[in-house]
Amino acid sequence: MNRRDVRRDGDRQADNKLNLDPARGEDWMHLDACIKCGACTAQCPVAAVYPLFPGPKSVGPDAERLRLEGIALAPGCLAYCTNCKTCEVTCPSSVRITDMILQVRRQEQEAGTGKAICRLGMRDNLLGRAEYLGRLGTLWPPLANTVLGWKITRRLLEKTLGISARAPLPRYGRKFRTSDIVPLVGETQSYGRGETESYGCVKTDQNRRSAKKVVYFPGCFISYNDEATGQAVVKVLEHNGFEVIVPHFHCCGVPLTANGRFREATANAQHNLGLMQPYLEQGIPVIASCTSCGLALKEDYPRVSAPGAQRIGAQTYDLFEFLWVLHERGELRKDFREVQVSLAYHAPCHLKAQGIGTPSVRILRLIPGVKIQELDAGCCGLSGSFGFKAEKYELALQIGSTLFQRVQEGVKEEAFQAVATECGGCQVQIEHGSGAPSLNPVWVLYQAYGLGISSAIG
């Protein structure tokens, strides 16, 4: 074997590890495709404000070469990657930087290295489980919010678990349910082997017999913190003639992945795929309104070994991506009332990573009276639970500072009244960092369809 063969062999091993698709011809060269331009590190929201994080180029493709030789970086290096994927979107050479980083983190978990000190390990375990926290919190939301509102609780949480006392933990609300109507036995069974019945699934009461069906993946934020927006999503879809099916999903797995709990994330994906499988087989689209859930369904789920994994990527749509497809087919209802509102739009990192553009801006611009302008001011800094962690809270605010400043200026100059963004985490952080109200863009559509008045728009 000559030197060249050895090198190529190394690259192939790397690509196998990364699950790259050999059908794309040059993909085995992904590592070689990095021309070391440094664009990723220049755009990395963390590297720009935190010197101890070497940046995506160093911990991604640079270190990958060393890793192929069996040399690993100090585990702590990776803890500051927020998994926002800005590096991958930025890269002019399509190098899969975040994939490389996640792969190493996964190996660290498997090998049992890279474990944080016990307290933080517990914290990460907890924050990774937004779902269980949500279930607890929504048992009796006023109690949960009151207790979490006490300074003493927050100080205790910071001291014991390292959850920042100042971080904008989202409030718990009523748990999201589409309807309290028990699904008809005959109908659930029509979706194969009665599995859905045993897991339970709720359909919306309108359009029960509609031929047009979608599965809605609400995600933890809608389920436990913002059920009203979930209802708005459902009503908008129903207004367009869809029957909305909401199986009892678990968390999509993104918070688990971000906190280094890869096995658990895979288990969640398998559970959720099991629930979706019968619908996927019938070609029913899956709609996600949370951009991180949507990205996981499109990017991570196809890599999981489970029935339905083959189909999930192609059948998942971001809510507005789906509405835009309807619009292009001439199937979107356009019985819009005028909505006089000026909005700024913040594109969440995980929407950018989906590679679908900004469909919500396109849709909202169809509505008479709506003025919407993209802020284009980078990441908000929260990155799921990153900004809740005591040692990262300040950093998260620093990352978002450009965005907050632009929002504050815009509100002061009366250029807009609120910030529209799909991601619940971004909404919370924008309100926390800038003081300006933030809402899911679906509310504008909800109001335009005459389904109700959104308090956030007024």
Binding site: A39, P92, K298, G357
Partner: protein, 397 residues
């Protein structure tokens, strides 16, 4: 249905998008990554347009007449750049030598150096890819009668960076000067320099500072009694980033949409007309239908052209290319024939068969580095050809 879909988000693509949006068209730009503007120097060359028009098939043969219009149009779009048509300015390279330049980001104009008795070179501690001794030596060579002094600058905010031995990128320094502490530090520094001024023809050379990034910094420098000359930097550069942000911001403010990430995989063509662009988004292929398309994929560097040992390929439409018979030339920095590889076009920038001259696609306009028969490094016309062809395509969409 979009009026125009621009494939590639570099300078030519953005220019086409901006002009078409301004003409009331709805434009989508699809780009693989952020494009090369963010790591280019921000300085743009037009070259000697009339002379280059003499070269057989050079893009300026088609574009030359419009170059001046594109030049002024760019200045309208990007008021933080300066330039006068027909007059070449100069800027400092990262090594401190002078280079000619036609369009300069504000602050980079190096002309005050020519009549400076004393040049003070600011040395911001830890600045990445900055070699003060080399810069000093080069400045001395070029300005023989000036005294060159180094002024070391230690910034408290970067102590952590220093402690871990991490160099501070030019982009991070530029952001610092825009911050409140940065502006305060800058004011103090200018004050100190003013007090120590020995003659009234002193000039400050200041790497890592970019007035174009921040209006407040501009105000501080406008009040300074001595001229401040900035430097270009190695990639990624703050000046290139600012230019990219401005053009992108302008395009979006006009209502254009930018999809950055995976780029256009291919375009479906029906009877000589391009119809639908296929984009590989996460999980699935999505498509965008448009009336017309701009091919701005950036040649070899942007992977709009890919060469293997058996073929040279245009990656989106599979257009036939002009490929020079010999690829390289022994003089490394000389004219390299491979640079002439590209798509041949008619007077409306539509792709043509290099053998028959027949127009291949009616509604596709080819711009920038994808055009055949030019060498941006030898002709010093990279910015000019890209801006002019982008400007023209924006008028055709």
């Amino acid at each position: 249905m979009w009026d125009g879909l621009v494939i590639g988000g570099g300078i030519a693509g953005l220019m086409a998008g901006i002009r078409a949006q301004e003409r009331g068209k709805r434009v989508l730009i699809v780009s693989v990554g952020t494009g090369s503007l963010a790591f280019a120097s921000g300085v743009l060359d037009f070259g000697r347009v009339e002379l280059l028009r003499q070269e057989e098939k050079h893009p300026y043969v088609l574009l030359g007449e419009t170059a001046e219009k594109a030049f002024s149009y760019f200045l309208q779009c990007c008021p933080s750049h300066h330039g006068v048509w027909g007059r070449t300015g100069m800027a400092l390279t990262p090594l401190g030598t002078l280079r000619a330049a036609d369009l300069l980001p504000e602050g980079l104009d190096a002309s005050p150096l020519t009549h400076a008795n004393r040049i003070v070179l600011v040395v911001p501690e830890g600045l990445k890819d900055f070699f003060p001794e080399v810069v000093k030596a080069n400045l001395q060579k070029q300005f023989i009668s000036s005294t060159i002094q180094l002024k070391r600058l230690r910034i408290e905010e970067f102590v952590d960076w220093q402690a871990v031995g991490k160099p501070i990128p030019d982009t991070v320094y530029a952001k610092f000067w825009c911050s409140e502490q940065g502006r305060e530090t800058l004011k103090n520094l200018i004050g100190e320099m003013t007090r120590k001024m020995v003659s009234d023809s002193e000039t400050l050379v200041f790497p890592g500072l970019h007035v174009a990034a921040c209006p407040e910094v501009e105000k501080i420098l406008a009040q300074a009694p001595l001229p401040v000359v900035e430097m270009t930097s190695f990639p990624p550069s703050a000046a290139g980033q600012v230019l990219y942000d401005r053009l992108r911001g302008r395009f979006k403010a006009l209502g254009g949409e930018l999809l950055i990430g995976s780029g256009v995989e291919r375009v479906e063509v029906e009877s000589g007309q391009a119809r639908r662009a296929i984009v590989k988004s996460k999980g699935k292929e999505i498509s965008f239908t448009a009336k017309a398309f701009v091919l701005a994929t950036g040649g070899f560097f942007g992977r709009g052209i890919v060469a293997s040992s058996t073929e040279v390929r245009e990656t989106v439409f599979g257009l036939p290319l002009y490929v020079p018979p010999e690829w390289s030339e022994s003089s490394f920095l000389g004219a390299q024939p491979y640079a002439y590889t590209g798509v041949e076009v008619d007077h409306s920038l539509r792709p043509c068969d290099p053998v028959t001259g027949k127009v291949l696609l009616e509604n596709v306009f080819v711009v920038g580095r994808m055009l055949a028969h030019w060498d941006p490094w030898v002709g010093h016309c990279g910015g000019g050809v890209s801006l002019t062809s982008g400007f023209l395509a924006g008028g055709l969409l």
